[in-house]
Amino acid sequence: MDEKHKIIAETKAYNCLDCGKCTAVCSVARHDSTFSPRMLVYDAIHDSGERAIKDDRLWECLTCAACETICTSGVQYGEFIRALRFQASQAGISGRCTHGGALQSMMHIMGADQLNQNRLEWVPKKVKTASTSDTLFFVGCAPYFDTFFEDLDARTLDAPKGAIALLNRLGITPAISPNERCCGHDMLNSGDIEEFTRLASQNIKAISATGAKRVVTSCPEGYHTLKVDYPRYMGDTGFEVVHLTELLAEAVSSEQLNFKKTSKKVAYHDPCRLGRISGIYDPPRQILEAIPGLDVREMAHHHSNALCCGTQSWVNCGTINKQMQMELLGEAQATGADILLTGCPKCQIHLKCALNDIDSSGEIKLKVQDFTGFVAGALSR
């Protein structure tokens, strides 16, 4: 299997010393003792056939980067998984789609060129947006998720609504494109590179139509995909990408933002794509520190050790993932916080699903809320 060995070489998987540190920190292995990152590498290297790409465990990895962060041999595990998944999808193998494949179908529908979407109905009247600007706010999947997960009270539109209000407060009138698609992160993560490039090229076209040279987003997956994967797969995009918390943290340190006093107790969850994968840990905390009276609690696992919420790219969701969500919620509850804040829509959807699903009466009392929506709500008049 030439392709497979090329992947192993390029992602430095040959460097694996079998030390097992990855398995010790693996988010999945904590709950599923049959899963092990290094075993997957071992099997891929030693198997002469196609066992690696036919392995079900290939789709259970959450690409949360806990293993990569601790690996002392420099194995690029996330890339290794993505590349193997691409090989698998070439062979017609995919993960088990959740929600009856609805999300994947949505993304494929979005891949069409001539789509006249109605993506802007949610924009509140009192914020200012423009059709052209040098800054664009990338909304991503929020409108679709908000509707599809209405029964979970997902409220994923709280993030873009809050973000635009915050940007306005900084004197920025961002462009919002009516032609945005899903950023393509899930397609890329599942090995469907063709669909990813289709979505990416449409987004690049939509963004350049607004004249924007800077793209701001609050979604961790959108941020990383636009910043790193777009230039990597599509070449020069013509815009730079900034995470909203980076802009807000700067504004906070130069005292441009004023917040109302509050006595709420919150815990902050580091999303994998923002924390470990993008290295953005402190800006969100700096912003929370600036809210007077806000009691910010740190969970037992935080920063690069943060627990993963168990989100996959809408494949292979099961008991293990629910256990991960319950562990995370339990840890948040243990801090004494009333609200768990996170800036990732996927984390929110999955944590809220766990709260709904399992009878955690008496156990989990806290609420899950979007970070950006919370911060925007705390702005003083």
């Binding site: 529908i109 069409a112 979407q117």
Partner: protein, 156 residues
């Protein structure tokens, strides 16, 4: 014998109709027996109950290029499995909203409660829906795979 003419014959919509085995299928049979004519662009998928149809299935139809999707089932209260139709009626609203956001249009999805054996009503509803889809035009997300999809599905 009813013969309802379509609005224009330029665009023949490809419509997928999910038909429940009980009320709706008996109506389909009666439409045939009593010679009520309905649009030939509709392909039927027979299931035991409309309650089986979930959002993923509906979105898949549109992904594959269907211009319209009909859910033909028993009237509320007469569902052979008690609550199947009610369940789907509830989840329909959010799927329609989603189709609106995506730019396909929620009106491309229609649920019809068909009284058992009422072939005339079924034929009329199919034709009404076909005319609606003709007015709306082809599915913008159609990438050409709909042709092969509909060639494989047996009609009626």
């Amino acid at each position: 014998m009813t013969n309802i003419k379509p609005v224009s014959s330029d665009f023949e919509p490809k419509i997928l109709g999910f038909v429940c085995n009980w009320g709706a299928y008996s109506a389909l049979e009666m439409a045939g027996v009593e010679r009520y004519r309905y649009s030939s662009g509709v392909s039927f998928v027979r299931l035991m109950c409309i309650g089986r149809v979930h959002p993923g299935l509906i979105l898949k139809c549109f992904e594959l290029g269907a211009d319209g999707v009909m859910l033909l089932g028993c009237p509320s209260g007469s569902c052979h499995y008690e609550f199947g139709i009610d369940q789907t009626k509830q989840s329909m609203e959010s799927i329609k909203k989603l189709l609106d956001i995506l730019g396909l249009g929620g009106k491309r999805l229609r649920l019809v409660e068909v009284p058992a054996g009422d072939g005339k009503y079924l034929a009329q509803e199919i034709n009404r829906f076909t005319r609606r889809i003709q007015r709306m035009g082809a599915n913008p997300a159609n990438r050409g795979s709909v042709q092969s999809l509909f060639e494989q599905v047996p009609v009626g």
